[in-house]
Symmetry: C2
Subunit: 129 residues, 2 copies
């Protein structure tokens, strides 16, 4: 997602010292925040549940995003059986704290995009780790 970075006046892998730029390096794409939405607002936990969301995320992208979310510490993966391996995904506190960003997006969307509806109000998701 990120690359070497040759801007000398900021740390390894940072585009700049701006928090917004750095947040966009984590969630700045069309799919990542939809997975977070599923976890946070729709209480989804399993691969198949994410697949069933109406946006129909391609399976390879879903697998990739879950990996990245885990790598950046926004999501915790927990196996509930070994054979065949089956896991559930939970938001960490760090991941759940993206809530205000999603809320702001939901609010803007309802104001400016005709016809949209928020699927449910926020439930209290289980936080792990």
């Amino acid at each position: 997602m990120k690359k070497a970075n040759e801007n000398p006046d900021c740390p390894e892998g940072y585009r700049s010292m701006c928090p917004i730029a750095n947040v966009l390096d984590i969630v700045g794409d069309k799919w990542t925040l939809l997975v977070v939405r599923d976890l946070l607002m729709l209480s989804k936990r399993r691969y198949g549940e994410f697949q069933n969301s109406p946006e129909a995320i391609p399976t390879n992208i879903l697998a990739d995003r879950l990996k990245r979310l885990e790598a950046t510490g926004l999501v915790k993966k927990e196996f509930y059986q070994d054979n065949p391996p089956r896991a559930e995904y939970f938001l960490t506190r760090k991941g759940a704290d993206l809530g205000p960003i999603l809320k702001a997006m939901g609010h803007w969307g309802k104001q400016y995009i005709p016809g949209v509806v928020l699927p449910k109000t926020f439930l209290s998701p289980e936080i792990r780790e």
Copy 2:
């Protein structure tokens, strides 16, 4: 950015009826919101000013994003001379209302990404149209 759309139970070009999904179709990439940040928080107006931001946006992407922002009604382009053509870009109300999303990102970033600093606090940008 978007494509035909074959999900039959939502309008032309919508991935779903979720406001978050639709917002992500407009600002779900690594650059669009940085241009909005420049307009909203740093009071930039001109092409060259956007280029000078520390993230060093490639010029072709900047040109593309300014076009899209104008096309979606988030930004208004105003020429201040004809020859050679020179323009300034201003946020519309719709564009300025992305502020809360940027604020939420800034807040999350400051909390979870070490070392980052918000360049300035919000100024009151000029709104057009």
